[in-house]
Symmetry: C2
Subunit: 335 residues, 2 copies
């Protein structure tokens, strides 16, 4: 049984959904197949909406995920989808399932976490509901806006575009590994504490996403939820294009470097290229825009690194010596 | 532990959420505390958004809920919230969790059910995601609209208003009882088959909700998700008012009547007044509008019955002889 869903894969399940529901409402400009849905409204802006769910046992483990950070993450990952469209968040809805064993302190901390992010990114709580369940679950829906003509889709990548990522993807997967091996307390204080934080409370790249869109720099964009390679593949599929990633150019954090030196094998590559949940942005832009992008990175005080280029077809990863290499898997497949 | 959440109650958890997140965005007109959130947008309409989650073991049992009907119900209950605001649905997002054991046939039937309702009520699928989890879960978010000044809130009930319900509340709870005792096959073909259908695939009262709002008839409105008494209490709390229900006027279906005759006790009253998941509408309107409401009911070919009136304070239920009576519980409390 397990095999069936594994073989099917999330992207194919979603495609099935998309196919059987060809959008018949002319106001739905973009349905399934991008970071958020895009719908027309009166005035000069498009409405963005996105929903995400964090489920105990699948997306987090209560033994190592403190409720405050869980609340932060739940909202941040939906905000990240708005960032990947180049939009601004407006308001959000939250649906929470709690077990009968849940303590008041847990609920309070969870809300505080959600609240912190909602204040940081100025996105108002508009509604929600709670239910009792056999496990803990947090579902967030964020509604946002983007000026007409400024939404950045997955489908805008063109041959010759350079591929960029913000931050240092792979840290979140490293953080998860450390959490699973050492538990929360040891992990967060340990040598890989930053990576652990990146996993437990990723920071959505709202300002970067919005500026890259407003300035017309990013031609295609996605947030890295399931790994650089898999999410880049999604961009390629939607753009009907291919891509090459140059490992020698890939931005690696000090912590991931240290991890690589310690384990003395090449498993860091899988973390960097196939580890999910970074919630960094991956976007493509003409080579000519590289300088603009450097300036933007400086201004925002974040790292933005070119890691490859868009080709005609296929997804190739070239190692430090420029030789094609294979990943164990492209990224996190939900089935 | 269990006691804590039970004592706290869902409404109090939601109030906690509401209090800690006073809406700071001037575009959020109505946050938590009504059927849907209401936000301003350009043009003459308000945006409505609502989210609901059906969780295995809490809201349904796969042993008696066929996936097709589950899909229908998941979307219908969110549509029902839009109806209770007097709005029209525009599009929806769906977030589905499936276990590794889920079969392709299950997924296909689930989608078909969602699709059927989406076509019936002309609401387009705009986005979604799927995840693997320890249990099956379907979360739906519906976005809708209502003309400015036409949204019907819970807070509009005034002393002297008559209280109305559509349909025959209690059928869903009766259906659930039969399903739990006899399983799907026997239940759906049995003597209480209609009640079983009401439970498994409730029909959102979209047209009634929208017309009651457009014509300015309903002054306050809610959909009955957790029982007539509890949902009426919510209207009273938001309106700072009280209410009386007259049992002698309460609309009882032929099946619930037959059930009452069979069991020869008064447990049907609990089903009618405290059984949840009817997704009928409860609304209040001035006595003077009773005729208009009868005509509307005729036109829509649904039953709309006056069941009581809004008072200054307190919630009173008067039995067939006009004597105050107590319910075992007001309705379905999630904790």
């Amino acid at each position: 049984m397990k095999r069936y869903l594994t073989e099917l894969g999330e992207d194919r399940i979603i495609r099935g959904l998309e196919k059987s529901f060809a959008p018949k409402n002319p106001r739905v400009i973009k349905g399934i197949g991008d970071d958020t849905s895009v719908t027309a409204q009166d005035g000069g802006k498009l409405l963005l909406s996105t929903t995400d769910t964090l489920i105990e046992g699948t997306h987090f483990d209560l033994s190592y995920a403190p409720p405050g950070l869980l609340g932060k993450k739940a909202l941040s990952i939906s905000l990240s989808d708005i960032a990947a469209m180049g939009g601004e968040p407006l308001f959000f809805l939250v649906s929470i399932a709690l077990t009968p064993k849940t303590k008041k302190e847990f609920i309070d901390a969870l809300y505080r976490g959600i609240k912190e992010i909602s204040e940081e990114f100025k996105v108002a709580l508009a509604g929600g509901n709670t239910a009792r369940a056999g496990l803990t679950m947090i579902s967030t829906t964020v509604i946002g806006e983007v000026p007409k003509g400024k939404a950045v889709y997955r489908s805008g990548a063109r041959e010759g575009h350079a591929i960029f990522v913000t931050g240092t993807p792979g840290d979140s997967a490293l953080g998860l590994k450390v959490l699973q091996n050492h538990g929360y307390r040891a992990a967060v204080k340990g040598r890989f504490g930053k990576a652990v934080s990146r996993h437990l409370a990723p920071v959505p790249r709202m300002e970067a996403g919005s500026l890259l869109a407003k300035k017309g720099i990013a031609r295609s964009m996605i947030d890295i939820s399931d790994g650089v390679a898999l999410d880049l593949k999604r961009v390629c599929v939607e753009s009907n294009a291919g891509a090459e990633i140059y490992l020698k150019d890939f931005p690696v954090s000090a912590e991931l470097k240290e991890y690589a030196e310690r384990v003395k094998d090449r498993s860091w590559i899988d973390l960097a290229l196939s580890g999910g949940e970074d919630y960094e942005l991956l976007f493509t832009a003409p080579e000519a825009d590289k300088k603009k992008i450097s300036r933007l990175a400086e201004r925002l005080k974040i790292r933005i690194t070119p890691i490859g280029r868009i080709t005609g077809k296929g997804l190739k990863i070239l190692d430090e010596n420029g030789r094609p290499m294979k990943l164990k898997r492209l990224g996190f497949e939900h089935f």
